[in-house]
Symmetry: C3
Subunit: 370 residues, 3 copies
């Protein structure tokens, strides 16, 4: 192999405090948004309609939160997880300023923890990754940890530092870039009259529909994000691998769950945070993904009477409808059909003023036909 080809970082290449600037920058466009819609069938009004987004005080329709996540995460792969043998987890994923078509995203990661495994062949690397737009405003930051191979087994182990990882992002730290229109939030446009006030802790919501994944779809998605993790793209290698086939990027399943959650959570306009998540089993092309959610918390937000947060546990399962809420009794033993167990918070409009909102009540702004 020529020295010109970067082999990626191995465990001994990481050092506490090291900053990894990721490349290349990525200008996101209406083309990316269209592809995301085509891949996941996403229907949240805020990202589907520019005029609707403007009624919430935004300059135009922002990218779906999860598309932002994938664009930033994708940037980190070549430097952080190219030689990863396992993506062990992520925590404290906080969404920042909205991202709009035309914005240019960049990311870097700082190494915040290291622990060589007792086998001496691998180690765990913890990084804090941050994505910014062209004005340097943070659009996303998160911690994740991966298990990485050592290249040179003779190299001594670094001092172990296991960072403190946030158990959750506090609601007070949520970035809330939207504001409810005074004249009422138009539920005829969002697809559901259920607002923050209508959800209760412990409530379970079956998202009903299932969506089958094709090889071309998950590869198009993952290449769109410029995520270079080999296991998603190379059938010639994966044929001989543990599963005999390409593995779907875990984020693809999160986006499917987010899109399916429209049925039951149509007013969950944005994701505020992902507190943690487990990809409990691999997903492959041909699998049909279903999802359901449990409301863990209904949180008010400091100084805001127009927007609240719902903390959700969302479970995705493959080739299995979720009307009986698989996995709800806890994780022991986990239903083998479950592929994703996500702990996250979404932003949902509150019912103020109550009188102005209601199913079937059209807003004055509804374009009239001539």
């Amino acid at each position: 192999m020529s020295e010109k080809t970067s082999p990626g970082n191995f465990f001994e290449d990481f050092a506490i405090g090291q900053r990894l600037p990721h490349s290349p920058p990525r200008t996101v466009t209406a083309g990316d948004v269209a592809l995301y819609t085509a891949l996941f069938g996403s229907r949240f009004a805020i990202s589907s309609s520019e005029p609707f987004a403007r009624t919430l005080g935004l300059p135009t329709a922002p990218l779906d939160s999860m598309l932002v996540f994938h664009m930033i995460f994708g940037r980190t792969v070549a430097d952080v997880s190219r030689n990863a043998i396992a993506n062990l987890g992520y925590a404290g994923v906080r969404f920042g300023v909205p991202v709009y078509p035309g914005d240019t995203l960049e990311a870097d990661s700082v190494v915040i923890g290291l622990k060589q495994n007792t086998d001496g062949k691998t180690g765990v690397v913890y990084v804090h990754s941050t994505g910014v737009n062209q004005r340097g405003e943070i659009v996303l930051d998160f911690r994740r940890w991966v298990m990485v191979n050592k290249r040179d087994l003779a190299r001594p182990a670094p001092a172990t530092l296991i960072p403190e990882l946030p158990k959750r992002v506090a609601a007070a730290d949520f970035h809330v870039p939207i504001a409810l229109p005074r004249e009422a939030y138009d539920v005829t446009r969002t697809g559901s009259a259920f607002l923050w006030d209508d959800y209760a802790v412990g409530e379970r919501i079956d998202h009903v529909d299932g969506m089958t994944i094709e090889e071309a779809e998950h590869m198009l998605a993952t290449k769109l994000y410029q995520n270079t993790a080999k296991v998603h793209f190379n059938q010639h290698v994966e044929r001989e691998g543990r599963f005999g086939k390409r593995i779907v990027y875990g984020g693809h399943v999160i986006s499917l769950a987010r899109s399916l959650s429209f049925s039951g959570l149509a007013n969950a306009l944005m994701v505020a945070a992902i507190h943690g998540g487990k990809h409990t089993a691999p997903t492959f092309a041909g699998d049909t993904i279903y999802a359901w959610s449990e409301v863990l918390e209904c949180e008010t937000l400091p100084g805001r009477d127009d927007i609240g947060a719902l903390r959700l546990r969302t479970i995705a399962a493959k080739d299995r409808a979720c009307g009986d809420f698989p996995g709800h009794a806890g994780n022991t033993p986990l239903d083998p059909a479950v592929v994703l167990d996500l702990d996250w918070s979404v932003l949902v409009p509150r019912r103020v003023p109550v009188s102005a909102i209601g199913r079937g009540q059209a807003s004055d702004q509804m374009p009239r036909r001539s």
Copy 2:
């Protein structure tokens, strides 16, 4: 199932005169256009080239007529046909003002007919659906009727009202948003010198090429339109269904036929109306679609000597070339390879002034290389 998840409307949920506002609004973009081109390989100059579209008096290149159809139709599915067991037909599909990237489309449907079936378990719902842009201008309207399940079989049947459905859209009602350039319509750019004047009633045109459909393709298309009909996306359910596989959205076949029709109808710049159509057999991934057309009428348009209309019967067939015009002898018995039998009208430039138009005669506007 949580009350939060909309089960969609069942037969008894519809009432004559009821208005169903559809959600979400959809801002269409250059990204949607690129995906449409990638899916169907469409080559009509008006939607392929902004400068060419401007020579016809338009501000920029409009979306292909059928992309507009799918975007509006897709909006209606969740409210009208989520529980449909059959899409029985559509009529009076009239295309309105052109749609451009950046426009935001909305749709609603009004219930115009109801008829409970004698089995007491299902009924037919007739709706008039209308799509508008952000200025409230109509971009498309149409009638369609679907067979829908009852949820509560004990509910009494509503009064039967079968609406009068237009047998066809009259040429006088066509919206004709384009005007031929005075200095001549540039056929070197459209791919064919055959104009309205060159077609004759009874003429049959084999569109020659065939295009194979992949699962990823029809699902990407249908999700792009935010069409939520389950049969297209869920292999886990369809595996146990009547066909054992996902069914391709009928509109996908229309778009394939429209795209294939470029060979023989390159100057059919826009669709004016779809008078009616039958999806005579289901289409599946792996099928190769061919098409042919018969000219039913060559119509002049009131007050216009620059544009005429061709009324066409276009037949699409699967896994069968159409050089011998399958289905032309009438529908009894229909060739089993036929999947689409469409009655529609397209707008085609007329040859005026004759002297200024001709194959190989370059327009003055042709960009010259430096």
Copy 3:
């Protein structure tokens, strides 16, 4: 078949000096760019980031060179190679002014050579094809030659004219639209610190990764370019053909090789020329493409100390990693896994001023997080 359907040109339809204007014009957009990224996972900073492109003196991010190639090549197919039985070669492919979203591309071809084969049934047609933007500026020109069927075997052979074909595009003729920023070229953004100065003649670079092609992917790509060559799209016909399946457009493999070459050639910002190339074996869906390159020449460019050219031989192989450089010992016998043997030149920044450039050295322009 109706006279309305163009059967394309047969050998006897071509005449020396004949100009074939191609249709339709094509306005390229951010949607096309997003699809190209999704198809090939391309990461070259110049096309990924608008701000980065502006540091090189461009108004915004240009389309990847190969996307321009496909758009122009695609335009020529209907008139030049619809009845081709073999694409025999191309030469003197020179990239011109960069293409940006919003540009409209047109192309024409001039017949520069004819030679009927001794079998009397086929002949070779040589054309010089040129692509221009809406200002008439050349974005690409190239020669190619194809073997075409005769329709009427009785027609006498034309006089044989075999044109002189450029063995290569001279470096002095390269169009170099980028200029290095005075304040330094920012290698933290491009993904590699290796510049023109770091490459040596004879150096071999394994591009390491492999990418598997799906049917949906190569068809979406080829339809995006409005390339109408039937062998890529019609499984119903190809099932009975020589290979029993659809053949992947050769240009798809070039784009895969270009994208894979990012590993080792991240600073190869643009393609200047393709001197020649052979598609040595057909590629099919399911194949996994790998690539490697050998540096043939390191050329300075007249009057430029900021940009140099690397002439590369790039070999792509299917279902075979390229760490041992298959095909490097010459073409006799060629490794049967090799599918592409490309001779091309790319533009790469030079190290001036040396002091301002270096791995990990951030530019002042790096957006800072707030």
